[in-house]
């Protein structure tokens, strides 16, 4: 069962950008792609647990603000040194003007 959590307003995130979302003791990163799709990953880099929301979104990648490790925020795939562990991704949907993210039940 997916538990849908209301995370933020859809226009709170700029196009090709990311925001941080904290929920129930966990932290996530919510992305809006250049073509207006939304995505969610774990909020912390898999290298040294840095908040990815301070990083830069270009196309479909998020670049970590600390050592510039890159991930695809769409698939979570780690794309080159120094990151080698993929990011966990979560389902997301937009309802009205709200972004909802799907967490485990």
């Amino acid at each position: 069962m997916t538990n849908w959590v209301d995370a933020c307003a859809a226009d709170e995130i700029d196009q090709e950008d990311v925001v941080r979302f904290d929920h129930a003791g966990r932290t996530f990163a919510i992305y809006r792609s250049p073509d207006d799709e939304y995505f969610v990953t774990d909020g912390l880099c898999t290298h040294e647990k840095i908040h990815l929301a301070d990083g830069l979104v270009i196309d479909d990648t998020i670049e970590c603000p600390k050592h510039n490790g890159r991930f695809s925020y769409k698939t979570g795939e780690a794309r080159g040194a120094p990151v080698c562990v993929n990011l966990k991704t979560y389902p997301v949907k937009v309802e009205g003007d709200r972004v909802m993210i799907g967490l485990g039940a």
Partner: protein, 413 residues
């Protein structure tokens, strides 16, 4: 000649490890041997002055490659062995234990070593910081109420000072120049960092020379040119590093402030490459100016590029120089070369964070430097780096007014 001898990498640090991984990533199938004079698996150095000192439990080696990864990638790591000589004509590397290994191609990633103080007494209370073993030794001397003196207001000294303060140690930084971070860091940023240290209780003494050092196994006394004597429990010396060029010099490889390589990272002798802290290279973004960097990202990127070129790619190294430093809750980042700038434009961000844009005589962006709490400046520095790489001449108002730097990048076709 030695068709299956493979590639030997001398120096199992960041750069060497990244090169070894890069070779496999690019599909290299023959032998890869990674030789390091440290006994440890390849590890990252940046945490040594930060996390490794601060971890309250036992410090963990920040490994780049563990045994499993080495086995999976079929990379042979020989630890605790130093490469003593190269027989370039016979394409053999001679190790300190007398072993001779044949190579098809050789990569030197020998890094740098701390500059040592001359004429100081031998004492376990005078320490340098380059290796994991150094960090472990230093940790054992940092305690609340101990007095840690740091010689040199460069990055390593300042990071050690910040870490030592977190333990509640008394900390004094001694810098002979009139300000800290004289090399490559703008004065405004150095001022912010000085204030940060003072706010956190570090005594920062600039413009004083060391006249003499006395030490035994418990104390260090440092006599300064202002007539004062600092009585410390431990002295950490951070007065810069020198490239490890011994092996290259012995072999007759050209050296110029580091092992001199061309834009493909090739040395003056065929089939021998060099990369990372040990080498100097011409940088195309700055008119071919010869640089030697001591920076983690450069070591990583040059290692990856060397891997491609060892396999014949002939790619040019042209990454924008980049460096960061973490002190207390602040991060400083620099992209590009500050000393190439003629004018400086400032942009203020939230929480006291700010960025300086450095423009050359033609108003081209050649560097961006910034400091602030957390990772506040990271996005703008990263975008600046992209602007520098693309040799953009941004309108000054756009830099000061806080427009999204992304909008200054050329649109992808």
């Amino acid at each position: 000649m030695n068709g299956d001898a493979g590639i030997i990498i001398v120096g199992a640090g960041e750069c060497g490890a990244r090169a070894a991984l890069g070779l496999r990533e690019n599909g290299y199938r023959r032998k890869i041997t990674l030789i390091g004079d440290e006994v440890h698996l390849p590890y990252e150095r940046p945490p040594l002055s930060k996390k490794v000192l601060l971890d309250h439990a036992e410090p963990r080696l920040p490994a780049v490659l563990n045994d499993l990864a080495l086995a999976e990638k079929a990379i042979r790591h020989i630890g605790g062995a130093s490469a003593d000589a190269i027989d370039a004509a016979g394409k053999r590397l001679i190790l300190s234990d007398g072993r001779a290994l044949s190579y098809d191609k050789l990569l030197l990633t020998t890094g740098a070593a701390p500059r040592r103080l001359a004429n100081t007494p031998a004492s376990s209370r005078i320490l340098y910081l380059r290796t994991m073993d150094d960090a472990i030794a230093l940790r054992s001397h940092i305690r609340a109420n101990m007095h840690v003196a740091v010689l040199g207001g460069g990055f390593i000294g300042l990071e050690v000072a910040a870490s030592a303060r977190s333990y509640g140690a008394k900390v004094t930084v001694i810098e002979s120049q009139e300000r800290i971070l004289k090399r490559g860091v703008p004065e405004l940023i150095a001022e912010t960092i000085t204030a940060l240290h003072q706010r956190n209780g570090v005594a920062v003494k600039c413009g004083v020379a060391v006249l003499g050092i006395e030490a035994d196994e418990r104390h260090v006394g440092i006599s300064l040119s202002d007539g004062k004597v600092i009585a410390a429990d431990v002295l950490v010396v951070g007065i810069g590093a020198q490239p490890r060029t011994e092996l290259a010099v012995k072999t007759g490889i050209a050296v110029d402030n580091g092992i001199a390589v061309n834009e493909h990272l090739e040395t003056s002798i065929a089939d021998i490459f060099a990369a990372g802290d040990c080498c100097s290279f011409p940088h195309p973004l700055y008119g071919g100016r010869r640089l030697r960097l001591e920076a983690w990202r450069n070591a990583q990127d040059q290692g990856i590029l060397a891997a491609a070129n060892l396999m014949g790619a002939a790619r040019c190294y042209q990454a924008v120089p980049y460096f960061w430093s973490d002190q207390f809750d602040h991060t400083l980042q620099i992209a590009g070369l500050v000393d190439e700038g003629r004018t400086v434009v400032r942009r203020d961000l939230d929480d006291g964070a700010f960025i300086l844009f450095h423009l050359d005589a033609e108003q081209r962006l050649v560097a961006a430097s910034g400091v602030g709490p957390g990772n506040r400046i990271a996005k703008d520095i990263k975008l600046s780096e992209m602007l520098i790489a693309k040799r953009i001449m941004p309108p000054i108002e756009a830099l000061t007014d806080g427009v999204n730097l992304k909008s200054l990048l050329p649109k992808a076709a």
